[in-house]
């Protein structure tokens, strides 16, 4: 698992320090000169972080993972660190370069530059943490940076979003801090190698809850860690804070994917042994994420605004990612983390093209329709299922265990839906249809290949997996059933108005109707002061 030979290097310090210093520099310059063009320092700091990641990757490839500090190391650069740091730095660099051109000089530009650098610094700290305290420090720094990014003194929509975010993230952070304090009190500052070593110690301690049951400290800590991860990823039962962040400019929405929403996965993977060892915690994780996935996927279909739909779908995607950890497929979770972060930030940056693209597709693309004889329709179904089968078999052959299930089923469903979408848009040309289906299959297999490669690279840094609390096939079956049912039901609001009304309100702050009078319930049939003429 972990190689005994490590390499001490200050590169790790550069990795973390560069964006932090950049954030401070941006703040100072912004304070001195409001009208100067902000973002130069931020870009430089982020580029330095990306460069360090690349250098560390080279070191890792030729030699051994890097560490910095004492025993246990403060910082370390194993495969997980490098993947997360690489993705986060790339996204942050892109977004900050974008923001520098996109935002007019002023307080918003300064806020984005400084906040973005701080978010990256926090993420890098979390990803490269060798100890629990370092991880908690990075986590708190990220939360602070997010709140700073969202906060705006004058705009009410931003204020509401900030309040919601503070509530949600604050509760998660509180859970994390309590867990850290408990662990520190019991076993000191452990190395983040899955926390398997200390799990045993924690199991032995227990305390009683309201004199009724005995709960072991391990259960408490694992539960709190799970709650922290859930809150960060905008999962139930925490309030959905992601949709409100759409009130901030586009670069901020994209930045949130550079390690803010994904940090939960890193936390859980670094404490994987502890968390998977506690059945209750894993069950909580699985239930919360499955529920979130079902609700968020539905809510995404019920959103009419492009940015809102992207934000809500992020909740669902994060649910899928955390579910992968619950079923014992951390490699799948990490590959999903990386791919999705790049995808979502790219889509946010390009959201302005949403309507133009939709119109062009409406004009030129053949409408998706299922027509023809029963035999023909059956053939389409068979072909789509065939693509799914091919992909599924390939996944089963190249991956194993829960990874094979999560990745395989997800890719198989995607391949089938892609083939179906293509087949139901007849272009009138056999050759194009066949090429299209082949293309879908090839792309899906290529994605599988990428995931296999990534998993192989990550193998060395992942702790071995114990028994998962939830069976992967079961979880996926629930998801698939819910997804299919939802997509059929939600095709139009009138099909399921109650569900639609519920989902359409996800993520919105409750209506405020300040009135000096307390609301009083009206009993049905009360006499109105003025008879309301009911028009027939």
């Amino acid at each position: 698992m972990y190689s005994a030979v490590v390499l001490e290097t200050p590169l790790l310090l550069v990795l973390v320090a560069a964006p932090s210093l950049a954030a401070v520099a941006e703040l100072l310059r912004g304070r001195r000169d409001r009208s100067a063009r902000a973002g130069g320092f931020a870009v430089a700091g982020t580029a330095a972080a990306l460069g360090s990641t690349a250098a560390l990757a080279v070191l890792h490839a030729v030699g051994s993972p890097a560490t910095l500090g004492g025993d246990p190391a403060w910082l370390r650069g194993d495969a997980v660190t490098l993947l997360v740091a690489g993705v986060a730095s790339t996204i942050a660099l892109t977004v900050l370069v974008y923001a520098r051109r996109y935002l007019d000089p002023g307080s918003e530009a300064v806020r984005t530059a400084a906040g973005g650098s701080a978010v990256l610094a926090g993420t890098l700290l979390v990803a490269s943490a060798g100890r629990l305290t370092v991880l908690v420090a990075g986590w708190l720094l990220t939360t602070l940076a997010v709140v700073a990014l969202l906060h705006h003194p004058r705009l009410p929509a931003r204020r509401t979003a900030t309040m919601r975010t503070v509530t949600a993230l604050g509760s998660g952070d509180l859970a994390l801090v309590v867990a850290a304090v408990v662990v520190l009190a019991v076993v000191g500052d452990p190395a983040l190698d899955g926390l398997g070593g200390v799990a045993g110690d924690l199991q032995q301690r227990s305390f009683s809850v309201v004199g009724l049951t005995e709960v072991s400290v391990a259960t408490l800590v694992a539960g709190l860690l799970v709650l922290a991860a859930l809150a960060r990823a905008s999962q139930l039962p925490f309030p959905a804070w992601l949709p409100g962040t759409v009130a901030a400019p586009t670069p901020t929405s994209a930045l949130l994917h550079a390690g803010v929403v994904n940090a939960g996965a890193v936390l859980l993977i670094r404490s994987l042994d502890l968390v998977t060892g506690v059945g209750a915690a894993t069950a909580l994780l699985a239930l919360a994420t499955i529920a979130t996935v079902l609700v968020s996927a539905g809510a995404m279909l019920a959103r009419s605004d492009a940015k809102g739909a992207l934000a809500v779908s992020t909740s669902a995607q994060m649910g899928f990612m955390l579910l992968a950890i619950a079923v014992g497929a951390p490699a799948a979770a990490l590959t999903h983390l990386a791919g999705h972060a790049l995808y979502k930030s790219a889509r946010f940056l390009g959201v302005g093209a949403a309507i133009g693209t939709a119109i062009r597709e409406r004009r030129f693309a053949p409408a998706a329709r299922l027509e023809g004889s029963a035999a023909r329709r059956a053939a389409l179904v068979v072909v789509s299922l065939g693509v799914a089968a091919v992909v599924g078999i390939a996944a089963g052959l190249t991956l194993s265990g829960a990874d094979a299930w999560m990745v395989g089923v997800a890719l198989a469903v995607a391949g089938a839906q892609g083939a179906w979408a293509w087949l139901t848009r007849p272009l009138g040309d056999q050759r194009t249809t066949v090429l299209g289906v082949a293309g879908v299959t090839a792309l899906t297999l290529a994605a599988l290949g990428v995931m296999v490669v990534l998993k192989a690279l990550l193998e060395s840094a992942l702790p071995p997996i114990g028994d998962a609390a939830i069976d992967a096939p079961l979880a996926l079956a629930v998801l698939a059933a819910g997804g299919l049912a939802g997509s059929w039901v939600l095709r139009h609001p009138a099909h399921a108005p109650r569900l639609w009304a519920l989902l359409a309100a996800v993520g919105r702050p409750r209506p405020i109707a300040r009135s000096p009078l307390p609301p009083s319930p009206r009993p049905a049939g009360a006499v109105h002061l003025v008879p309301a003429r009911s028009l027939p």
């Binding site: 605004d305 848009r425 997804g483 309301a532």
Partner: protein
């Protein structure tokens, strides 16, 4: 305890009464709808006058009405005056003269101070104006619920607005136009079904809201009537309440107005009926009000919401007296100053600023065109030389720069004509299942022109369909609840690097020109024009632009379009004359028509002899990159050499124009050393660029004249240029066409930019960085709220402030005054525009040196030479870029002989 006002009396169940009520409601709804302008779907953004429904009240009345109902200022404020002063566009003398013009009372008052230091009262007002803050936008209560909120300090109306706009977005997205959207009920029944289960409505309107919703009528108009009844709105005040409802969601109401009044029956865009919008809004208001009024004592609505005068407090008087050099402690002076300041309301101050800006611009424009220089206005467009080519450009202000540079680099003549080249049509590109209306918004074209499916041996239709099907399949998978996980993961590895590339190196990948197929303009009148129609198109085009003789060997019909990336308002930069689309299709259609030998024979029969050697070629000017693409498929060999030279000259002219434009854009310098065309191309391909070009910002005048009047004059890209031949248009038909169509379009564009500059929150679309595309028809700002109409702030302003100068259009016509007066008399629309002070009119007789301005009411006043601006000229506001100062008085004028 007072009860609510009496409900409509005599509500009987009889059918005829019900029908009468519904009829009355329709009338009142139509009246209320005029408060907002129609809002086109954003992919074919049409610039509209925000006060389009109020034009019959005149500019003053319309801005006052808009101010009362929408809470807009409607006029430039002290901030604009201060900025203009700092830029050098205005002097205090200009402002004082404007104050004297707008407030005659003040002009007639005695000067203050002694004989040694006499201060005219107008100067006092100017000093006060310059030190004032921008007037606060007061939102007066407009509806019953807002009045309740004002009385009790609650915020029910704002919460209801949040909910209603959220519902409207859902309803619009799922209530498509006819023939699409399977299983969709009307918007109102859908809302009833959804609202029944909405917990948020329960929070606002009480727990029994579900029962109350059951009892609501199934027809939207009945629901409106019932809600008006519940709110206690009497018959006479229906219009007011409806206006208030419209004002509270002016964006969606504007879309509803487009949907009801302007959308073609087979338009595939989503729809929203205004009656449905009002039904939802009023019902929510009524539901909330019902549960409130039982508990509180309703009070009378405040009578006059906004005072039209502001308080004249002692500090103000002191400041004003000090600023004008008078003694602030002199009691008599203080009394006199208070009298002066009390005469001038905030509205009048705004009108004065507007008048000052307009007067200065007009004076500098006329001076640049030669007024007061002793030079007679040209009488005809007949060319004096033998140009190698004539280039017909759209009247768009951006053509002005290209035309100026093109005339400077080679022997070319340029002509201005509306960008649809009289070929109003529905254009169907190869592979498309819809046809696009490619004509000014005022026209409803019926003839469809199709693009050939095969071009240069490539199957265009198949390529486009395949590419679109790929995109659509991708979106299907991305939204599939079970399939989106793997897609996000896999696609991230492709989209991520693409995003990095696009951000770090925009425009690195040079886009090849998209292939186009030939247009089939011949046909039976449904698809393709008949011969008679083609001849009409050709004749109209040539006669209206005054090009009936003296044809050059090559005549270029140059439409325009803009290339931007990830820009929801992309269509706002495209050609307005082509319905918010690119102009290439119309140019190609017109060129095909004019090259047709049969059409030429018809033209000869009608008196226009086009030489056989003359060849019409279509082109498109990309206004963001300043590249002109010629659609010269199979040119005649005799023109090959000239065409090659023309292409080279167009590239050179484009390069110069791009350099000039980029200097005025914020951060337009880009990487040093790169040629302007590369920098412009990079800017257009940059998805992080909120200002790829300035578009029509700065537009201020409409010139109807032979080109020789303005050749060589640097008009700064602020003037719409339409060519006109006074000598050849004896009956005035061409002039009438120009004034009643292109000028109205220019007026709409001018007022759209005016509104978005003067009131960016109500009439403009707000901050572009917060824009959130919604329902496929428009944008929201941020997470919710009303649909945004108008232009985003970044389109009218730079880093330091507005780039567009909020002035009304100044039309300058070279024609006999009698001809113009006759045309105005025959056309009510022109009477509305000119008498209502929406558009200024200046006329100069051909061959004369007397320029006259028409005042509202029909009288004419001479434009005196002393109105000149002493060397200050057509200066565009500096906003983060280098201020482009064009000194009209010393502009080079090349007199073509």
């Amino acid at each position: 305890m007072t009860l609510v006002e009496s409900s409509p009396s005599g509500l009987s169940v009889a059918g005829t009464d019900r029908a009468a009520l519904r009829g009355r409601l329709q009338v009142d709804v139509a009246r209320a709808a005029r408060l907002v302008a129609p809002l086109w779907p954003i992919e074919r953004f049409i610039a509209v006058n925000p006060m389009q429904g109020l034009t019959d009240r005149g500019f003053d009345g319309a801005t006052a009405t808009a101010s009362r109902w929408l809470g807009v200022a409607g006029l430039p404020g002290p901030g604009d005056a201060r900025r203009a002063l700092a830029d050098g566009r205005l002097t205090r003398a200009d402002l004082a003269a404007a104050v004297a013009e707008v407030v005659p009372d003040v002009a007639g008052m005695d000067p203050l101070g002694g004989p040694s230091h006499a201060v005219h009262p107008a100067e006092l007002v100017v000093a006060d104006l310059l030190s004032a803050a921008d007037p606060a936008r007061v939102a007066a209560p407009r509806t019953v619920l807002e009045a309740f909120d004002a009385d009790h300090g609650s915020s029910y109306a704002a919460s209801v607005d949040d909910e209603v706009t959220r519902w409207l977005a859902i309803l619009v997205e799922h209530h498509h136009g006819p023939g699409r959207g399977a299983g969709s009920l009307g918007a109102w029944p859908t809302w009833l079904a959804l609202a029944r289960h909405d917990r948020r409505l329960r929070r606002l309107a009480g727990r029994d809201v579900r029962q109350r919703l059951e009892g609501l009528p199934r027809r939207a108009d009945d629901a409106v009537l019932r809600a008006l009844d519940v709110l206690g709105v009497g018959d006479a005040r229906w219009t007011d309440e409806l206006r208030g409802q419209v004002a509270r969601r002016s964006g969606w109401a504007g879309f509803a107005r487009w949907s009801d009044e302007w959308a073609a029956a087979d338009d595939p865009a989503p729809r929203l009926a205004l009656l449905d919008l009002l039904a939802v809004g009023l019902t929510c208001d009524a539901l909330v009000y019902e549960q409130l009024r039982g508990r509180v004592v309703p009070t009378a609505r405040p009578a006059a919401p906004i005072a039209d005068r502001d308080a004249v407090d002692p500090d103000r008087i002191t400041g004003v007296l000090r600023a004008t050099g008078l003694d602030p402690d002199d009691a008599d002076l203080r009394v006199a100053a208070a009298a002066v300041l009390g005469r001038c309301s905030p509205r009048q101050r705004g009108l004065a600023v507007l008048a000052a800006l307009e007067n200065t611009f007009r004076a500098s424009l006329l001076q640049g065109l030669g007024a007061g220089s002793g030079r007679p206005a040209p009488a005809t467009t007949a060319s004096h030389g033998s140009p190698a080519a004539q280039v017909v450009c759209c009247i768009d202000v951006r053509s002005e720069g290209l035309r100026r540079h093109l005339e400077a680099v080679g022997p070319y003549e340029t002509v201005g004509f509306a960008g649809f080249f009289a070929a109003a049509m529905r254009f169907r590109p190869a592979g498309s299942s819809e046809s696009i209306a490619s004509a000014p918004a005022l026209l409803q074209p019926e003839i469809e022109v199709r693009e050939a499916e095969v071009a240069d041996g490539r199957d265009l239709a198949r390529r486009r369909r395949t590419s679109a099907a790929t995109g659509a399949s991708f979106e299907d998978v991305a939204h599939g609840p079970a399939a989106m996980y793997a897609l996000a993961e896999g696609a991230g590895w492709v989209l991520g690097p693409m995003a990095v590339g696009r951000t770090l190196a925009p425009g690195a990948a040079s886009r090849a020109d998209a292939p186009v197929g030939a247009l089939c303009v011949e046909g039976d009148g449904a698809v393709g024009y008949t011969l008679a129609e083609r001849a009409l198109v050709a004749e109209t085009a040539l006669r209206t632009m005054g090009l009936t003789s003296g044809f050059a060997p090559i005549v270029v019909l140059c439409g325009h379009g803009a290339t931007t990336t990830a820009n929801p308002h992309a269509a706002s930069l495209d050609c307005g004359a082509c319905g918010g689309n690119r102009g290439a299709a119309n140019a190609r259609a017109a060129a095909a028509v004019l090259n047709d030998p049969a059409v030429r024979a018809e033209l000869a029969a009608r008196g226009i002899a086009v030489p056989a050697a003359t060849w019409f070629v279509a082109a498109e000017h990309d206004t963001t990159t300043d590249r002109v693409r010629l659609f010269a498929q199979e040119p005649p060999a005799v023109h090959a050499e000239a065409l090659r030279r023309l292409e080279a000259d167009l590239a050179r002219a484009g390069e110069r124009n791009a350099a000039e434009r980029l200097a005025a854009l914020p951060a337009g310098a880009g990487r040093a050393g790169a040629p302007a065309s590369t920098r412009a191309r990079r800017r257009s391909a940059d998805w992080a660029q909120t200002r790829p070009e300035w578009g029509l910002a700065g537009n201020a005048a409409f010139l109807v004249a032979p080109r020789s009047l303005s050749t060589g004059v640097d008009l700064g890209g602020r003037v719409f240029l339409h060519s006109y031949d006074p000598a050849g248009d004896v009956e005035g038909r061409a002039l009438e066409t120009i004034l009643t169509a292109p000028m109205v379009v220019a007026h709409w564009i001018n007022m759209q930019y005016y509104g978005s500059t003067v009131d960016p929150q109500r009439w403009g679309a707000g901050d572009k960085t917060l824009h959130n595309p919604v329902a496929g028809v428009g944008v929201l700002e941020g997470v919710g709220g009303d649909l945004r109409a108008g232009l985003p702030w970044q389109s009218v302003a730079g880093f330091d402030g507005p780039r567009h100068e909020p002035v009304r259009l100044c039309t300058v016509v070279v024609a006999p005054q009698g001809r113009v007066e006759g045309i105005i008399e025959r056309n009510p629309i022109l009477q509305e525009l000119f008498d209502g002070a929406w558009v200024h009119l200046v006329v100069v007789e051909p061959g004369s040196e007397t320029w006259r301005r028409r005042l509202p009411g029909g009288s004419w006043v001479a434009v005196a030479a002393s109105d000149s601006v002493d060397g200050r000229a057509v200066v565009t506001p500096s906003a983060g870029g280098v201020a482009s100062t064009e000194d009209g008085s010393s502009a080079t004028r090349e007199v073509r002989s």
